[in-house]
Symmetry: C2
Subunit: 328 residues, 2 copies
């Protein structure tokens, strides 16, 4: 099969990758489309050790199921368009048994850790990871399910209501998606950008404002969501908070972060790491059109031009770059 | 008056400090006894800029009140034994008006910031800061009100119940006080110590266990409270947590702390800074004998030997050192 392969920090298109073996409890999925995420860019830069096919945001069609998958699952899935939760879990460890499956101690993660991902014609995932798409939902919108779920995950960890003043630091692809989900809470929302570029109309229509870094100091926000993944973004988010405010870390960081821990104690700040989120609500939000994701698409590339797609996705200010992999 | 004075990182006994001016809305308090806290040791080491009389844990007797204090307050306070909340606040800023008085933007803090403290014969504080002591409560126990309030503050920020596995990192004076308050929640409590020294009987009787640093890795605690104020303590607390666990920072840190922020995101850890706490519940707990603080007293010194008292308090493993300042 065709696919992109990452090894020793080098990303290559490979025309003849061996197709994945199908474990008995998994589904073989033919990928239609996949999105490039910052984590993919960081993997390609060698920030995290991973060799294999990257990619974890995808829409595909279930081709066939392993021998142990039930007939009920088969009739639910085969031939259907699906998205997939990216953590493949054991179901038996301490984390799984306490309801924290996304933190399974033995997990593999699609295209990130221990498992080939979505930037290829075929992938496998455990059958329970797959969610069928509503017919009304376009494939292009559905490819945002995983990052939209991650954005919604914030609200599972931090209660955000209409009286909260919330700052989103970073207007990239993740920041914009988070801003769009947070706007639905009715909160008083501000997005900080480097350039002061204005926000897209749907966010402005919901009352979201934009501001520059220099306007943030001591602004007394209740919650700040750091989406840039760089230390400067952390500092902006930290400075923006009121005492007892909450800083949501929503991006991975290359290397270590230097923190003024005494100031966190004195101001009694909460810093909360946030990674994945729930797929079912993300699909509901997409189906009802609650978050319009298609304006976030910056470009589409065929799989063969994966390296160019990565280069495009890594340019400052570029939103979502998609890889078109299979036809429907 | 007699007092200790800190200037340019040097602590001296001064026999003839000028007595404090009494502002119209404050109370003049004759100090009976005062406790040395790690913050005092850090001030004396020059970690934070402060020149003046240090000390913020005290019991005193109200000598007289400023001209603007009401007659009702006067009858409540004059001649009575009191403890005092350490943040003197404006009542009018954004923090005060939102119920976060301890974070007042214009606050001074007794013996820490902008206000002379308790290591002298006299101090002043706003009258509303003062809490009368129940007659049954000894002066020596009452001097623990402020640190006990700080320990109880954890439970105002993080719900801790009988099913929670909680680790206290550091068995110093603050760690022991925190362990004693947490034990009252019925939680499954462990204290990590460098030496593996056993815990005092009342904690063991409540089922608290002790463990060594090397037993902590991947132990899956729900909550870890870092009381050491050093980066090694932070690492121990971090490693002890389960995914989605909570790390309470309960100590100030000299310098900056290096944090693996990506790991906080991947494991979805919450880090929460915690400083002051509520005096009224601390006094209730002391009055009912719920936390026995007197075994924490390591030594008593007269004010004249303040430098020796500080030296004693800074030795590893030494618990609370008290300064005896006035007679009752």
């Amino acid at each position: 099969m065709k696919g992109l392969r990452l090894e020793d920090g080098e990303l290559r298109f490979v025309p003849d990758l061996p197709p994945p073996d199908l474990p008995p409890d998994e589904a073989l999925v033919r990928v239609l489309i996949a999105g490039i995420c910052n984590t993919d860019l960081e993997l390609a830069r060698g920030y995290y050790p991973f060799a294999g096919v990257p990619g974890h945001e995808f829409v595909g069609v279930v081709e066939r199921l392993g021998a142990d998958v039930s007939a009920a699952e088969a009739s639910r899935l085969v031939g259907k368009r699906v998205v997939g939760e990216i953590n493949a879990v054991c179901g038996a460890c301490r984390a799984c048994l306490s309801g924290l499956e996304a933190h399974c101690e033995k997990r593999t993660v699609l295209g990130i850790s221990g498992r080939d991902g979505a930037f290829a014609e075929l992938l496998t995932l455990p059958a329970p990871n797959l969610h069928r798409l509503p017919d009304v939902l376009s494939t292009e919108a559905a490819v945002f399910t995983e990052p939209l779920a991650a954005a919604l995950g914030i609200q599972e960890q931090v209660p955000i209501g209409p009286s909260d003043r919330v700052l989103v630091v970073g207007a990239g692809k993740l920041g914009m998606l988070i801003a769009k989900t947070l706007a639905r809470t009715g909160c008083d929302l501000t997005v900080v950008t480097r350039s002061g570029a204005s926000l897209p109309e749907p966010l402005r229509a919901r009352g979201a404002a934009v501001c520059l870094e220099e306007d943030i100091e001591n602004a007394g926000f209740d919650v700040a969501v750091e989406c840039t993944g760089n230390p400067a973004g952390f500092v902006i988010a930290r400075r923006a908070l009121r005492p007892r405010g909450t800083l949501v870390l929503k991006s991975t960081y290359a290397g270590r972060l230097e923190v003024d821990a005494s100031a966190l104690v004195v101001d009694e700040i909460t810093v909360i790491g946030s990674r994945c989120g729930p797929f079912a609500p993300a699909l509901r939000v997409l189906e009802e059109g609650g978050v319009d994701v298609t304006p976030l698409v910056a470009a589409r590339y065929p799989l063969e031009e994966g390296a160019a797609a990565f280069e495009h996705a890594s340019r400052p200010g570029v939103l979502k770059v998609l890889l078109e992999i299979g036809g429907e």
